[in-house]
């Protein structure tokens, strides 16, 4: 009797507790779920930061993207002979508006310069400052000093050819009524990389992306010193000049021990030491920091070590995380429209299905190429490529998940007078949740593998480094990078399997 009373009392207490719990307006948050939420938010924030994903970046990229897509039209399926010459100077195609006037002044300067050339002289380099009438010609020997290893000076004919092309581009722009703004443009260069290459003319303010301040700093130097680079002495410290060659040929002077952030792409490093120069062509990872002194001490060879690989592997994971996140956000509406039982109209269903299939049929790497041209090199392009590349598949899988939902449960909730959104939240979503999670995690695992390869086209991640190592025959480092990548992929696969088991 006594035990029975006791039992009843325990039961009563239990009921009181349940009452309390279910009367809370919001469900109770356990410390564990709070910690999980904080970890997830931190992870997402860190990834967004790492991948430089921002609305501004996207907004800036959209006009370029639209432009790019317009340029893709109409598609051409046949090979047209005779188009090679036009293809030969692609830089004017894409940069016509910004180059025109600068190049025009270059031509004027060059004309007289070319006229004054003696027979045995070759024009290789024209440098002029806006605001001064000076235009100077240097000999191949002099120019070689400024040119990266393996780059040959342009010939006079090539300069003329380039000028004509510029003139044509300018006339075209005039005819189209374009207004051009030249403020801030001061230095331009003509150079070519290999004898087969066309001349590329790049305006200084286009070089801004690389090292604008350095150009400003260096140009007076060049002028004052007859285009000779000066190695300075600073208080007994060994002073080093590190020269970066981007396409703009903008040298950079660094003091020994100075930290330099390499922010370009396809850069070479020239290290000048006590009058002797040696050029090392090494792959750089954008954003990598190098210390001038260190490289000199280490036989002038630049160590390109594992920290860089780790960084880029982490970036690969970040691209996959953020790409998957945005992909989910897009896939839910697409999935709803493409599921037979939730679509507003059969026509919408057909159209969205078709759209998703089309999007899915193009590989992520192609999207990466497009996105690189839209938002520039870097991980953000990778994020966009992953989003577009996976939304086709994920949207369809989400649609399948919504179609698997038991219609009777949905009807029961609707029969209580719930609205459309409420029915989705309280009947469709809870039922579809395990499938949605499974499909999301599978897609995420695929995205990790996809994002590893995006670097090959410059969209961030470890692919960039792997490609560089492969092309430089640094095969042992290549193997190292691949092994680290494999380890990371395995860890992520394990982790997502764990989550899947927890949820289902």
């Amino acid at each position: 009797m006594l035990t029975q009373n006791k039992k009843q009392k325990v039961k009563q207490e239990e009921l009181v507790q349940i009452r309390k719990d279910i009367l809370r307006p919001f469900p109770k948050l356990s410390p564990r779920s709070l910690v999980t939420a904080i970890i997830v938010i931190a992870l997402l924030g860190w990834s967004i930061d790492g991948t430089e994903a921002s609305p501004q970046e996207l907004a800036r990229g959209i006009p370029t993207l639209v432009d790019f897509v317009i340029r893709l039209m109409p598609p051409e399926f046949e090979y047209a002979p005779g188009t090679e010459t036009a293809m030969h100077i692609p830089s004017f195609e894409t940069r016509s508006i910004s180059v025109v006037d600068k190049a025009d002044r270059a031509r004027k300067a060059s004309d007289s310069d070319i006229a004054n050339l003696s027979q045995d002289q070759t024009l290789i380099y024209v440098l002029r400052l806006t605001g001064s009438s000076d235009s100077q010609i240097i000999t191949p020997e002099e120019a070689q000093q400024y040119l990266p290893f393996g780059i040959e000076p342009a010939t006079a004919e090539e300069v003329v050819m380039a000028s004509e092309a510029i003139e044509a581009a300018r006339a075209e722009a005039d005819a189209a009524g374009e207004v051009m703004d030249f403020d801030g443009a001061r230095v331009f260069y003509a150079l070519r990389e290999t004898p087969e290459d066309s001349i590329t003319i790049i305006r200084r303010d286009q070089a801004v992306d690389y090292n604008a301040d350095d150009v400003d700093l260096l140009v007076p130097y060049l002028v004052d010193n007859g285009y000779e680079l000066v190695v300075e002495e600073v208080e007994g410290e060994e002073v080093v000049m590190v020269q970066f060659f981007v396409h703009t040929l903008n040298p950079y002077i660094a003091e020994a021990g100075q930290e330099i952030v390499l922010d370009g792409f396809d850069e070479s490093v020239m290290i000048v030491q006590e009058g002797q120069q040696s050029i090392y062509t090494v792959p750089y990872y954008p954003g990598e920091r190098v210390f001038a002194k260190r490289y000199i001490l280490e036989r002038g060879e630049i160590l390109f070590g594992y920290p860089v690989i780790l960084d880029s592997i982490i970036e690969t994971a970040q691209i996959a995380i953020i790409g998957t996140l945005f992909s989910i956000l897009l896939s839910i509406p697409f999935g709803l429209l493409a599921a037979r039982n939730t679509t507003p109209h059969p026509i919408v269903y057909q159209v969205v299905r078709l759209f998703l299939n089309l999007v899915r049929s193009i590989p992520t790497l192609i999207y990466a190429l497009i996105m690189v041209s839209a938002v520039g090199l870097g991980p953000f392009a990778g994020v966009l490529a992953i989003v577009v590349g996976s939304v086709g598949g994920l949207g369809r899988l989400f649609a399948e998940s919504f179609e698997q939902v038991d219609p009777n449960q949905v009807a029961a909730v609707r029969a209580t007078g719930a609205g459309g959104v409420q029915t989705f939240n309280f009947a469709v979503l809870p039922q579809a949740f395990p499938l949605l999670t499974t499909y999301t995690l599978i897609t995420f695992e695929g995205n990790v593998r996809d994002s590893a390869i995006l670097g090959i086209v410059g969209a961030g991640g470890v692919g960039f480094i792997i490609q560089k190592y492969a092309s430089l025959f640094q095969l042992q480092r290549l193997m190292g990078a691949v092994i680290i990548l494999a380890i990371m992929t395995t860890i992520i696969d394990r982790f997502s399997a764990y989550i899947r088991n927890r949820i289902i």
């Binding site: 009777n408 409420q422 009947a427």
Partner: protein, 272 residues
């Protein structure tokens, strides 16, 4: 309270589920609708709830015409009519309490609601509903972890948490064993009487219907063939509801001459 006049329902495939059904339900009545499988009982309930379009005729709830309602009005109607399903149709992955709270969705719209927010007032009502059916100790259980009887009670709690003007129960005990059927039916009728809600119950088991309802309506071949108190339901009335085609079938059986008439009748009755 509820007036049904000459309701006729023809399905798109040509089946005439209801030919002409008329009835009037007064408030605070618990009514059982009996009839053979396919007699149109479920169709009738679905018409009242607006889930099934009516071919002709009129259904008036509190003087409001149900058959010609717009989507918005129907949502309002659904809120006022509690529906108890044979197969429970609880959302399996939500807790029993959450399932009962879905009964309050019609009263609780807004963005916060999407995050699972219900005001304490709404939660109070849901809790009381759960308490009424004796399922409070299962409130935090996931609905798919409950037994059949428990699920049906939660289902009832969901319907009454809507604070309905009318309760419709479509075969509420058909999936339960006899013992459970008895208790669930008694709970249902008790709650309906306490709440003073007119209740329509589709049911197969005539004994259960007789024990727990005030009035029985028999439907056969799309017509109302019986309407009266449990005491009035005699053998003749039963024959009208369940064995209206007795002669036909006997003739068919006699012509085939292969099977015993009585076994056939038993089989038929069981399936009823």
């Amino acid at each position: 309270m509820l007036e049904i006049r000459d309701v006729r329902v023809v399905y798109p495939n040509g089946t005439e589920a209801l030919k002409s059904v008329s009835m009037t339900i007064e408030s605070n009545e618990v009514v059982a609708i009996i009839g053979r499988s396919g007699a149109g009982k479920s169709t009738l309930l679905r018409c009242i709830n607006g889930m099934q379009a009516v071919t002709s005729g009129s259904i008036k709830l509190d003087g409001q015409e149900v058959t010609t309602m717009s989507t918005r009005e129907r949502r309002e109607l659904n809120r006022q009519v509690g529906f108890i399903w044979q197969e429970y149709n609880l959302v399996g992955r939500l807790s029993a309490n959450m399932n009962v709270l879905t009964g309050r969705l019609g009263y609780n719209r807004g963005i916060l609601n999407s995050l699972g927010y219900f005001s304490s007032e709404q939660r109070e009502i849901a809790m009381q509903s759960l308490d009424r059916v004796g399922m409070l100790h299962r409130a935090k259980f996931r609905a798919d972890r409950l037994s059949g009887g428990e699920k049906q009670r939660v289902n009832i709690a969901r319907a009454i948490s809507q604070q309905p003007k009318l309760l419709l129960a479509d075969e509420p005990v058909a999936s339960l064993d006899p013992e459970l059927s008895w208790t669930v039916m008694s709970d249902l009728s008790r709650i309906a009487r306490e709440e003073g809600v007119p209740t329509l119950i589709n049911i197969h088991e005539v004994e259960l219907a007789k024990s727990f309802t005030d009035r029985l309506i028999g439907i056969a071949q799309g017509h109302v063939v019986f309407d009266g108190t449990p005491e009035e339901l005699n053998q003749q009335a039963m024959d009208k509801i369940y064995r209206f085609d007795k002669e036909e079938r006997e003739a068919a059986i006699a012509s085939s001459n292969n099977q015993d008439i009585e076994t056939i009748n038993e089989v038929e009755l069981e399936s009823v």
